[in-house]
Symmetry: C2
Subunit: 96 residues, 2 copies
DNA sequence: ACGAACGGTAAGCTTTGACTTACCGACGAG
DNA sequence: CTCGTCGGTAAGTCAAAGCTTACCGTTCGT
């Protein structure tokens, strides 16, 4: 999972507020700028962020499509898990 | 995140079908039984699974409360992220 | 009571991957 | 044209954590 790393999760949370340049992100996080760059590459490959060039700066923002896709994926998983649990309750409640 | 590891995610997916004993889980995964035990400890501490003793066997199942809690937590995050994106669209669409 | 099955724990190894420093190319300002 | 800013990439280091083997306690069947 692309959000498995805590730094990456922090980046996503910051970008959830508003788009940022790489240097801005690094300034708000306890890691160096290259580290942020590497994390952004992972997040971009995962489709969770998009990049926009503005002069010498690269503005990164969340990709709503990627975020929604991940959300839906998890949503179906939750539903299936909770549905199967409802069936399993029968076994547990045989003798109250 | 407790689901950051792929093996742990696989365990959760298997448990989403139906509860299993530790040995059963290990039989369906490409790792040893002790490895499964260690992952189950993490998942239990995270509140995602519960344990029930049945003779010499330990039956593990998903904890719907923990699953729902994580779901809600992510849900609020998605909503906030997508809401902020709607605001940011204004900047991008200034000059079509 | 004894043996087998089940599973948790400890110890150690190994590997993954996150981080830093160093370097280089791209772009804009002067 | 040149300098400063911004940021991606490479190389190397290091610590976190996942996996295995070995061991032990617990429980059930015979």
């Amino acid at each position: 999972m692309a959000l498995g790393d805590s730094t990456r999760l922090a980046i996503v949370k910051v970008l959830a507020e508003r788009p940022r340049a790489v240097g801005e992100l690094a300034a708000e996080l306890p890691v160096s700028r290259p580290a942020v760059s590497q994390h952004l590459k992972v997040l971009k490959d995962a489709g969770l962020v998009t990049e926009r060039t503005a002069g010498t700066r690269r503005i990164y923002r969340l990709n709503p499509a990627g975020v929604a896709a991940l959300r839906d994926q998890l949503e179906t998983f939750w539903n299936r898990a909770l549905a199967n649990y409802a069936d399993a309750v029968d076994d547990a409640e045989e003798i109250p």
